[in-house]
Symmetry: C2
Subunit: 261 residues, 2 copies
C-alpha cells in the first residue's frame, strides 16, 4: 500500500494511492483507517511530504563507498563502530516539487544526497533490532541536501544539513517495500544518473539504526530515520532538477534555485 | 505577565499566573487571547513545560567560565567566533516536578546545567540581532541535563543532551524578564548552591543567537533557544532534587532517579 499526504481544497489530507489516483481515508494512518468514497486524480492534487515528524535522524556515514567523499568533509576515514545519529532539522522539510534553495550566503553551494527514509509507525523505545522493523510504517525517498563548508566547519549539522528547504521528502510512504531485499537508491541530476546504491548495502540497517536510537530516545509515529548516502555527491546550481528514486517506492523530484535576497 | 501551561481535568491548557492562582485564557498565547472567568489555585493544577517547541537549540559554550569544564569534554579551549547551534531533542522535554532519569546504561551518570530559555513568539527568519528581541514571547528556566561520556564520544549531542527526560522546562514563561539587565541563573542541588551566573554575561546574547540561527532556519512560535551554562556542573545521583532558578522568572524543580530496567 502507498500512503500519500496531499493538499485538496486547501487542506492537508491522507490518502491511499491506487493507480493514477488517490483515495481519501478516514481515521489515522498510524492507527486504523478506512478508504472513503472520495478520490482524486494524482494530477489534480499537490503531494505533500508524506509525514510530519517531530524529529528526524541521520545515521552518520552508512555506506562504505561514501567514506572517501566524507573523509574530505569530516576527516572520518573508517566506518564507526556504532551509528552516529544526528538531528536533521524538521524545519527543512519541503514537498515533492517544491524548490530547493541555495542560501545566498552559502560560500560553496549545495549537494544532493539521495536516500531511503524509514517512517516510524508506533511509539518506539528500547526495542531490539528485530523488533524495530515492526515499528516502521513504511518507507519513502528523501534528499539530504548538504552545504559542505557549514557541514565541515560547524560543530553540528544544524545548518550544513538543516537550512530551510534542505529536506525534500516524498512522494509517498510505501508500506510493502523491504530495504533488506534491497531497492536501488538512484539520484538523477538533470536526467543524468549521479548516485546509485542498494538499501541492502547499508552498513547499519534500519532495524539496527532504529533500535540504537530507541535505547535513549522515544521515537514517535511519523518520526523519520534516514539511510545515509553513497558515493560522491555533486554540486547543484540554480536551474537544476534533481530526482531521487528508490526503486520499488517512487520518485521525488525538486527544482533548484538561488534563494532570493 | 507570566504564561503557564497546565493540566486540568486531563487537558493541557494555557493560563496567566496571578498571585497563587492561574486564570485560564481563551485564544492563542502566540497571537491574541483574553482571560476567562475560570481560575485555579496553582496548588490544584499540574504545571506542564510551558511551550511545545518544534525545535530547540543550544548555543555552544556561551559563558567564558564554562570553558574550563567544557575543555575536558569537547577539547574547546577558547570561545568560538560565532554561536555553534545544536539541536536539543524535543523528545527529552519533561514538566516541572517530573523525574529526571539516569539512563541505566549510562557509564558516567548525568550532570545539571541550569539555563535561561528564550521562547520564540513569532515566525522568525533572517532577522537582525535588534529585531530578534522582538520575536521572543518570553523567558523560562531549563535544565540542560548532560551525559558527559556520550557528549564527548558521539559525533552529535543526540543522546549526550537529548536522552529522554534530559530537558526539564518551566515553571512558566515570563514576558517581562529582560536577560540584558540580567537575572542570576542559580542551580541548587539538594538545597546547596552549585551554579550561578547572570544572563547579562552570556557571550552571545539571545538577540545574537536568535538572529544567527534565523539566517538559515525558520524559527516558529514555541521554539526554544537555550542560554548555555556556566561554571562546572556536578554529577547527580538517584534521590537528588535539582532546582534551577532564574531570578525574576521562577524556580524549576525536579527529582532525580535511576531509570528502571
Amino acid at each position: 500500500m502507498r500512503i500519500a499526504r496531499f493538499e485538496s481544497a486547501g487542506l492537508a489530507r491522507y490518502g491511499v494511492v491506487e493507480g493514477d489516483g488517490v483515495v481519501e481515508i478516514r481515521g489515522d494512518v498510524f492507527g486504523t483507517f478506512e478508504r472513503t468514497s472520495t478520490s482524486h486524480a494524482l494530477s489534480d492534487v499537490r503531494l505533500l511530504a508524506p509525514a510530519t515528524p517531530t524529529q528526524m535522524f541521520g545515521p552518520g556515514v552508512n555506506f562504505a563507498d561514501h567514506l572517501h567523499g566524507a573523509a574530505g568533509i569530516t576527516g572520518q576515514s573508517e566506518m564507526a563502530p556504532t551509528p552516529q545519529p544526528w538531528h536533521k532539522a524538521v524545519s527543512a522539510i519541503i514537498n515533492p516539487g517544491d524548490t530547493i534553495q541555495i542560501p545566498y550566503d552559502s560560500t560553496t553551494g549545495i549537494q544532493h544526497e539521495g536516500e531511503c527514509l524509514a517512517v516510524i509507525g508506533q511509539v518506539t523505545r528500547r526495542v531490539s533490532p528485530d523488533e524495530a522493523w515492526n515499528r516502521v510504517l513504511g518507507y519513502t525517498c528523501g534528499n539530504d541536501i548538504s552545504e559542505r563548508t557549514w557541514q565541515r566547519n560547524d560543530n553540528s549539522m544544524w545548518r550544513g544539513k538543516g537550512s530551510d528547504t534542505f529536506a525534500p521528502i516524498g512522494p509517498w510512504i510505501d508500506t510493502e517495500f523491504d530495504p533488506r531485499s534491497g531497492g536501488d537508491m538512484i539520484v538523477r541530476l538533470n536526467d543524468e544518473e549521479v548516485q546509485r546504491a542498494s538499501t541492502a548495502d547499508m552498513h547499519f540497517n534500519f532495524g539496527q539504526l532504529i533500535s540504537y536510537i530507541s535505547q535513549q530516545m522515544t521515537l514517535r509515529p511519523g518520526d523519520i530515520v534516514w539511510s545515509g548516502t553513497t558515493g560522491e555527491p555533486r554540486n547543484m546550481k540554480p536551474g537544476d532538477q534533481v530526482e531521487v528514486e528508490v526503486q520499488g517506492i517512487g520518485i521525488l523530484s525538486n527544482p533548484v534555485a538561488m534563494e532570493p535576497r
